[in-house]
Symmetry: C2
Subunit: 790 residues, 2 copies
């Protein structure tokens, strides 16, 4: 059964309701009798005669035996049942209505839609217009999608959200080149970066959603694949050393020398490069706002097609180039109509209020630009973003791949988006310099040691969080093993206490978008949020939207509001003991050997998903390479919130070692699938514009679910930049924080912990014959428990 969770609906006073209804054509003082008849007929925008409207009314029911047409014609009294029965059909819940015996109230109740007393019919209608249809839109947006509103190219707000009254069939689509403050190709001129702009022909100035996407100008998949590193390599001993953080701290030497700015030869507001189709993928959320009077800009930054410069993943120069685009949009920087003429172009259509949007790399750059504190950037909606690149390709002194991408690294990603090679002349001109540049990157990223260094410090945006002077809206999947949850957790912890109204949405998916989920009013929330941040509407977005919205992992389509993530907790501590997690301390030790027969090793390297399945099941073929533990069966459900911690006393048979840990929920039950199911229903992003599939997380039966993971090099017990000593067969102690989570462990389930070394999806896979021994006398698992769901 469909459930809908709406957070972005504002209550307004009666006079505001009437005034807004009147503005959108759903109030008329003349309608003294038969108001409902007027309302419903106006809600059929595709029907342009009484007789045509009657067609719709005759096809739908007011009562089990009366069509809406008969109901209206006979002027039968409008009961609450009749109202909600008709309303259910207006919202598209016909199937549910049949299932619930043609009683619309039951549909509203079950789906979780708001019902009010219909004696105030205008109030009931106002609430209904602000209620979601089955198709992922507010009813009023659904009406707009069917042509209810004239496309005036003027802003129309309803319940403080912009309505799609802008003509997306007549967009201006143009390209400019922003002059940046960096010279990443060292040619003595500031790099120019291309920006593609889509905007409605608004009569007023409008805000801009900027998506910084290095992918946008094309992906060089063949070239990038050729750069993927071999991960079937041994872990090597690192000479111990003593390194203080200050010695590897990145200092931004932002003074660029011997670089000249272009002389401006003229000024214009008219672009000379137009386009009919975006060069790359549109960001769906941007499409939703294009029809609602927002401009959209796509920038790929330095080192991409049609721009200058070298490609340097996550670098200060890359971030600066994106920041510079914000500056131009805010009226604080020069851009040109092309790469040669030096005719400066200004965005006279911009209201100088900018938000950045995007997921993954795109969201990462949004976060990164926020840490520059650039003027004009008013908020970011950053989804599944990296806050610290070290944590993306490394972990605790180990090379650790993002889930699904073994062998990927900073240079591999750079190659993927060095799209300048797509143009033959640019390819020929820059290929030598590019190869040299990549050689330097390979050295600096240092796969040899796996340690944190100045290169990584320059790409750790957590260092600059104090510069964030805006409200951040963060979205992340708790099952995102690509950009892992720690990326958002650390950022959230860092900005949580600042004076801004930051928001966090945690879903149970992997590395995906939730903007088209049926069960959550994500786009409405952003619409309300942007009204405040980019349009300056004095609404209650910060108060109305919860600090944390969290998707329940125990049932489908259920979203809760929380005050916090990972702070308001108690701790539950388990001791490790043979096969079990217990309260009393054990006094024994146990070993596992991280070595596999060649055929099994090869099988696992070819299919790491199969490996993980076997590892979690504890299949006999894999058992010698792990130690696993299960708690007693839980007598009560409880919710884990934050970072699970494993404390271990461990020794290895050689002077090298890595420890991997999985935290698992065991129990035959329904679990949410971490990927989305796409329905054939399309959601409209305006009026027949950029339609996209409606999605939802569904549940399926399983026996277990991995809920967290962690990895560490035994030589990085102190920190990630210093090598600790490690001697064969000598015990050391270490404390390992696993990826944070927010997860309800259900009554009847068991908590599982698996200790192992090689992670076939993420770590190096040397297949070295190393035996690890754990001293249970000093090994614990500490789980943070949410005090209460509030």
């Amino acid at each position: 059964m469909t459930k809908i969770n709406q957070f972005a609906r504002q209550s307004v006073d009666k006079s505001t309701e009437i005034s807004e209804l009147s503005t959108v054509g759903f109030y008329d003082a003349q309608w003294e009798n038969n108001i409902f008849n007027h309302l419903i007929r106006r809600a059929l925008p595709e029907h342009q005669s009484i007789s045509s409207e009657n067609g719709w009314l005759a096809e739908h029911l007011a009562t089990p035996h009366t069509s809406v047409l008969d109901f209206l014609t006979r002027q039968m009294p409008l009961t609450e049942t009749a109202f909600y029965t008709i309303a259910a059909q207006l919202l598209g819940f016909d199937e549910e209505l049949v299932a619930y015996g043609l009683d619309g109230r039951q549909v509203f109740q079950t789906v979780g839609l708001e019902m009010v007393n219909i004696s105030d019919i205008y109030h009931a209608w106002y609430v209904l217009l602000n209620t979601h249809t089955k198709n992922g839109l507010l009813f009023i947006d659904d009406l707009a999608s069917h042509g209810y509103f004239e496309l005036t190219n003027k802003r129309l707000l309803f319940n403080d959200k912009s309505l799609p009254t802008y003509d997306t069939k007549d967009l201006i689509q143009e390209t400019v080149w922003v002059e940046t403050s960096v010279d990443s190709d060292q040619d003595g001129q500031f790099d120019l970066v291309q920006v593609d702009i889509q905007r409605p022909k608004s009569v007023e100035t409008i805000p801009i959603l900027l998506t910084a996407s290095p992918y946008y100008q094309g992906m060089m998949i063949k070239e990038s694949d050729a750069k993927v590193h071999d991960v079937n390599k041994p872990l090597e001993h690192k000479l111990s050393n003593s390194v203080v953080y200050e010695s590897i701290k990145y200092q931004n030497n932002s003074v660029v020398q011997n670089v000249s700015a272009r002389v401006i030869q003229g000024h214009t507001t008219v672009a000379t490069k137009k386009f009919t189709t975006l060069a790359g993928s549109a960001w769906d959320l941007n499409n939703y706002f294009l029809s609602r009077g927002y401009a959209v800009a796509y920038a790929s930054g330095v080192g991409t097609r049609h721009s200058d410069g070298m490609q340097d993943t996550g670098s200060p120069e890359q971030v600066e180039s994106m920041k510079n685009v914000v500056e131009w949009l805010a009226g604080n920087r020069v851009a040109f109509t092309d790469r040669d003429s030096q005719i400066a172009i200004s965005a006279d259509w911009s209201n100088h209020n900018i938000a950045m949007t995007g997921r993954s790399y795109l969201g990462t750059l949004a976060t990164a630009v926020a840490t520059t504190g650039v003027a004009g950037l008013k908020t970011v909606v950053s989804e599944a973003a990296i806050s610290d690149w070290y944590q993306y390709y490394r972990d605790n002194g180990l090379v650790v791949a993002p889930g699904g991408f073994p062998g990927e690294d900073m240079d591999v990603l750079a190659e993927l988006v060095y799209s300048r090679i797509a143009d033959t002349a640019d390819r020929m001109r820059t290929q030598k310099q590019w190869q040299d540049f990549q050689t330097k990157t390979v050295t600096q990223q240092d796969r040899q040691s796996g340690n944190y260094n100045r290169y990584w410090d320059a790409r750790n945006y957590l260092n600059q969080v104090e510069n964030i002077k805006i409200d951040m809206l963060l979205v992340h999947g708790l099952n995102d093993w690509n950009v892992k949850p720690r990326q958002v957790y650390r950022l959230w912890q860092a900005i949580n206490d600042n004076q801004y109204g930051n928001k966090l949405i945690l879903h149970q998916g992997q590395h995906i978008n939730i903007s088209n989920n049926r069960s959550l009013d994500f786009a409405d929330q952003i619409n309300l949020w942007f009204s405040k941040k980019l349009l300056g509407i004095n609404n209650h977005a910060e108060m109305l939207l919860p600090n944390v919205i969290w998707q329940d992992n125990t049932s489908a389509e259920t979203w809760h509001q929380l005050r916090e993530w990972g702070t308001q907790t108690n701790h539950k501590t388990y001791n490790l003991a043979p096969d079990t997690l217990v309260t009393e301390r054990a006094n024994s030790e146990a070993s596992f050997t991280d070595y596999l027969p060649e055929t099994l090793f090869k099988k696992y390297t070819k299919d790491f998903n199969y490996w993980r399945e076997k590892a979690i099941e504890g299949a006999s073929e894999i058992k010698p390479t792990q130690l696993s533990f299960k708690s007693e069966i839980l007598e009560e459900s409880w919710t884990l919130s934050g970072e699970p911690v494993v404390h271990l006393r461990v020794k290895t048979s050689q002077n090298i070692g890595l420890i991997s840990v999985m935290l698992v929920d065991y129990g035959d039950d329904n679990y949410l699938k971490p990927h989305l199911t796409s329905y054939s229903t399309m959601i409209d992003r305006g009026m027949n514009f950029a339609q996209t599939n409606l999605n939802e997380f569904e549940m399926k039966k399983s026996r277990y679910k991995m809920i967290s993971i962690g990895h560490t090099n035994l030589q990085n017990r102190t920190n990630t930049w210093q090598n600790d000593d490690l001697v064969a067969n000598e015990y050391v102690t270490l404390t390992l924080k696993l990826q944070p989570t927010l997860y309800t462990l259900r009554k009847g389930h068991q908590i599982g912990l698996i200790l192992y070394a090689t992670d076939f999806e993420m770590t190096l896979r040397g297949n070295q014959n190393v035996t690890y021994t754990i001293d249970y006398g000093d090994s614990t698992l500490i789980l943070p428990e949410l005090k209460k769901l509030s």
Copy 2:
């Protein structure tokens, strides 16, 4: 390596070339010097200043060391190499250009693009504009996609094909209700059927592409799934009888009695029901023509949402309702603005020339309407269409499912598209009548006997082929085991000798579209074809387009022209012998038993793809249930064209029996995959309109490929409507025609034949313990060999 095959390019004389070039802005008598400079700069429609154009020119190469900009600036001589190097980049073959050492001529040669002497630069440019880019469009269409043409809503022809000069962002989208000549719900009024129309605001009258799609108004998947028949049922003995065809022949009693036509209360040309988004899927080929000045209409026919009537798969009433839509579009019938007002609306924008389009059920109805000989229908483009419903759900006295859909039947498909239940009032009003109607269908379709009867005869359009008075353009996949190749073969054989210029395209795919394949100029062909058929342009489409275009199964992206299919053949006959196909006759017999242990039986019922794989491999678990034969290794390649025939002398251990046959090509080799690989490149259907993925068939290694299949009930040796006697353990002889093919068997391969009974994908699966014995002394395989590829 990409290959492109163009069939629709017309040669025109010099003066026509100049005149056409002039019309589209690529000729100017003033350009005496530096013509190429003008041409190439005009070919950059998104660049709207010299300086912006220079940006493009600087990013591309004329020679390995000279950008196009330098080349033009320095006025270097335009060599053939430089021309085709630049041309390769204009067409998007940059990657190929780099691979071929920056020599554009090599790219043109390898891809199969036409090169001409460039001394006549206008001729070379004319040819280039008519050459395909890498992105699935003619270069001139690609320019249009990037905004080259003003959207005038007036027709502009180039090389006798319509250019996309119609504004798809400003379409009229409206609905009408056609009054049909049928009363399938027997309410005493002719059924009204809804038609959705999309059309550009053309200043002239325009032709219409009509797609008859019962799916268009929605699919009732849950209800349909509930109707799927159990196929794990025994085959039953049929009492022998003697039936003459005349006794089951369908007579169209078209006089409908006691039904009244609606009184017309008024006339209009303005619709009162508009829509913003199509109710169902658009047909991609239609989108291509919307931007080219064709209107598009979608009709779902009787028994679908917003229409009257009952749903009766393939029935004369369903076909008549679609024919009636053609009649309205041709100005010969009444339609209304809605279901109630009786205001007649006429299509004053129609030029009264109609083509029908679509694949599968959609193509089927196009074919069916063609067999009515209705005035106004000028051609059909019918893809993967059924010509005889009996052949779709039955074969030779057996219930035989379309591949992939065991248990589906006429009633199941009817349930799927009885979309009137989507509206609550219509559901409540009609559900009883609908259930009764389905009960009747279940009886008539007669799964019990599997025989052909009057019901099926009424749904066999081959009976009316003599009424086809138009040129048919048929498209079918030779690996379509859903709508099997016999469906098009029988139709082709029937119309081949008529006086019309019918065309046939045979691809090596399954049940898919080829309109977006990169290697074939499918849309251009239809564009040229429609110019002749629907616009009355006197072009050479019939002569230029081959009678048969056939995709080569031995190499990717290769299409041949043939004169015929399945007629100009010799025959090769093989005798069946133990494990082999040989020239001399064997004098032995052999048996197989169609019975499986329960666990294996269940496994196969759950995964018929796995079963087929094992069956073709002759896995030991399956061997007792089949007899298989292989020829010697072929010393020469040869091409099979038409229907393979198996002649058998066979007896069974019970008085029931069915024989299935697979013809297989064995040999370690590359085979074309029958499904399409979708590229991320999007093809434009106008100017940023309805973009869709570019596709291509790719090859992959395999050890075999099934090339044909056949099934028969041993009690239907004479024909499909009469039961022949069958006595246990008594030999009978039968001749079974397999599905037709057009397929090159390669040197080094072996021809394989597999005889078996239960086909887990297609037949009933009774798991009855029946032993079949084949007398090799009178059992042969006869293969038709194409005389020559011409």
